[in-house]
């Protein structure tokens, strides 16, 4: 029975999650682009930088957070940069990319640091919300997403670190090749869960990690995480 549940999580649910993620984002953007425009200008002044540069700086460097709370800003940047590195790292779990290997490294690029930074940042964001005044302005969504991210990242980090530090002799090891076989088979639409994963005592953790990651993907377009796209659009309004 469990092997069926695991297979469901590892294959059909992944396809469904990716479809919801992409479809959801397209849907969200379409709704926005077909909605009524604002006839006037919502600009604030002074406009110190040219529009696209200004939007990029504000979205990527978050100067408003820097001004307000340096520690928070540090975690915001650490989290978002790490998130980007995490994305690149997972690309390498599909197959080898020459451009990522410009700096030669063993998969992943951060050698485990990225995951640790993410976990610490997420915990910071979470614990921050336990305190006033953030506690009063938080809604269940805020906690739920952070907890979900924490669990996903914690499991992912564990899988990576155990593979990295027990490589060769460890019974818990799932070789990088097994992940590549699995993910590239998904991509080629000929899904298999290779023996390297299916017979590993870690299988439950992999399946759980994938399950949570699926939830994250599904939630992105329909939760506040959509700010990864909308931030640029709403900041652009400020400069129109």
């Amino acid at each position: 029975m469990w092997s069926k549940v695991f297979y469901f999580t590892m294959v059909p649910m992944v396809y469904a999650a990716v479809a919801i993620f992409i479809g959801g984002l397209i849907f969200k953007l379409a709704v926005v682009l077909f909605s009524k425009r604002f006839k006037g200008s919502l600009a604030t002044y002074p406009k110190r930088l040219p529009r696209p540069v200004g939007v990029a700086v504000e979205a990527l460097a978050v100067p408003s957070a820097f001004k307000k709370d340096k520690v928070f800003w540090l975690f915001i940047l650490a989290f978002h940069i790490s998130f980007f590195l995490l994305f690149i790292g997972h690309l390498e779990l599909i197959r080898e990319f020459k451009w990522i290997q410009l700096i030669p490294h063993e998969v992943f690029l951060g050698a485990g640091a990225v995951g640790i930074v993410l976990i610490i940042s997420v915990l910071y964001f979470l614990f921050r919300r336990f305190r006033s005044p953030w506690r009063e302005i938080s809604v269940p969504e805020d906690f739920f997403i952070l907890i979900l991210l924490f669990l996903t990242m914690f499991l992912g980090s564990h899988l990576h670190l155990s593979a990295r530090f027990y490589a060769g002799g460890g019974a818990f090891d799932i070789p990088i090749e097994a992940y590549r076989e699995y993910l590239s088979s998904l991509l080629a639409l000929k899904p298999v869960v290779p023996d390297g994963i299916a017979y590993s005592p870690h299988y439950v953790l992999v399946a759980l990690h994938i399950f949570l990651a699926n939830l994250v993907l599904i939630l992105i377009p329909f939760s506040k995480v959509v700010h990864m796209v909308f931030a640029f659009l709403s900041l652009d309004l400020k400069r129109k």
Partner: protein
């Protein structure tokens, strides 16, 4: 609440969900960076007066009625149902916000609380709980627009009386035609307010600069906007736009009124004439040498309060400062300043409400700023700001004088004797 009313309020929520509102509903992460960027919160530190606290009230309603998630899983985003208690919260949020948009500048996503509060005000109008005074004023302005012909003669007569003041100030031989009205093809249509000072001082400046101008029959301020009624806002603004187009002017110059300026300049779409603030025009005349000022004629310390709609929301920062520096020898900048300047607490129609205690408390940020400069004269360029700064002055017993920029300019005009 009755079902029909809920239906009406729901349809308002849906109709207001334009592109910016969609961004603002979905994007806010409740990071709390904006938390203390509101002057009301500075004066009265409670959640309801923080930008996010305010916006969330409306957002939770939007979630409930315009989002499948709010319908399916209301607890997820704490979506709220319409009801009297919620509408009280909506009232508290909307009518403690001046629309200064200081929070927008400090939001990592540039969320415009003013727009969200626009939805809140619209709901309150439909609910019948919007401030009566403002509805009344908006209705009066609409009425004036509809039956302006009845009032024209009486108005022209009193304006004619004001011409003598302009004549006296500029030592001119005759008062006739110093405040022209209905002048076809004038370069400038100047839109003032009800008060004599809002007409006489600019008239002195226009005459000193020998400008080809004419005075509007209407007052610049838009009570429809303050009240939050989009139709009335549009009607009231269109009165001026139609007048300008009928007279075929090149430029509409707005009195020292932040809201009026922003509405015409930024919110009405593309117009067939240029829209300027009188502040920009004064600066232009001074730069071109058309208006001469007595240099360093004021030695007392002076500071300038940026009206939010003129500075942060209109980009007019340097012009007033350049003019003041010509007249004043001891100019002091407030801190923080320009786009981070604290709102006085009188904008958004708040100054028209019976809420003086609240405005004194929420004017604390402004008071602290003024006191820190040590200035004796606070110059600003917005009627609402002047009213509110005077309230702050009275409330905290400050030893300051509040002046319009146009007033300061007129007091320090270098006047050539006639001929």
């Amino acid at each position: 609440m009755e079902k029909e009313k809920i239906q009406e309020l729901k349809s308002i929520l849906k109709s207001r969900l334009n592109r910016p509102l969609r961004y603002y509903t979905d994007t806010c992460t409740r990071c709390g960076i904006c938390y203390d960027s509101c002057h009301a919160f500075y004066g009265i530190p409670k959640k309801e007066y923080s930008p996010v606290g305010r916006a969330e009230v409306v957002r939770k309603l939007l979630k409930k009625y315009t989002r499948p998630s709010g319908f399916l899983f209301p607890y997820w985003g704490d979506a709220m149902k319409l009801g009297d208690a919620v509408l009280d919260q909506v009232f508290e949020a909307a009518w403690s916000c001046t629309g200064c948009r200081r929070c927008m500048v400090n939001c990592p996503f540039g969320i415009d609380t003013g727009q969200i509060m626009g939805v809140a005000k619209h709901l309150l109008i439909e609910n019948g709980t919007a401030p009566e005074e403002l509805i009344m004023l908006a209705d009066a302005a609409v009425e004036k627009g509809k039956s302006i012909d009845q009032f024209k003669e009486g108005y022209k007569q009193v304006i004619h009386d004001l011409e003598k003041e302009v004549q006296k100030k500029l030592n001119l031989p005759s008062p006739d035609g110093l405040i022209p009205m209905e002048k076809q093809g004038a370069d400038i249509l100047y839109v003032g307010l009800a008060g004599a000072h809002s007409i006489v001082n600019p008239a002195i400046i226009f005459n000193a600069a020998k400008a080809n101008w004419t005075l509007s029959f209407f007052e610049a301020v838009n009570f429809g906007f303050f009240a939050g009624d989009p139709d009335k806002t549009n009607f009231i603004a269109q009165r001026i736009i139609k007048e300008a187009m009928a007279l075929n002017v090149k430029e509409v110059v707005i009195v020292e009124c932040g809201t009026a300026f922003r509405i015409l300049r930024a919110l009405m779409g593309k117009l067939p004439f240029r829209v300027s603030s009188i502040v920009e025009v004064i600066h232009r005349y001074v730069e071109e040498g058309k208006v001469k000022l007595n240099k360093n004629s004021v030695s007392e310390p002076v500071t300038y309060h940026d009206p939010c709609q003129l500075g942060r929301n209109g980009g007019v920062f340097e012009e007033p400062r350049a003019v003041i520096r010509k007249i004043v020898s001891d100019y002091r900048e407030m801190s923080p300043t320009r786009e981070q300047n604290w709102c006085c607490g009188g904008g958004g129609g708040l100054v028209a409400l019976d809420n003086e205690d609240f405005r004194i408390k929420t004017g604390k940020a402004k008071k602290d700023q003024i006191v820190a400069t040590g200035a004796k004269i606070v110059v600003t360029a917005c009627e609402n700001c002047v009213s509110q700064l005077k309230t702050i002055k009275g409330g905290y017993g400050l030893d300051i004088e509040v002046k319009y920029l146009s007033e300061l300019v007129c007091e320090n005009l270098a006047i050539q004797s006639s001929e």
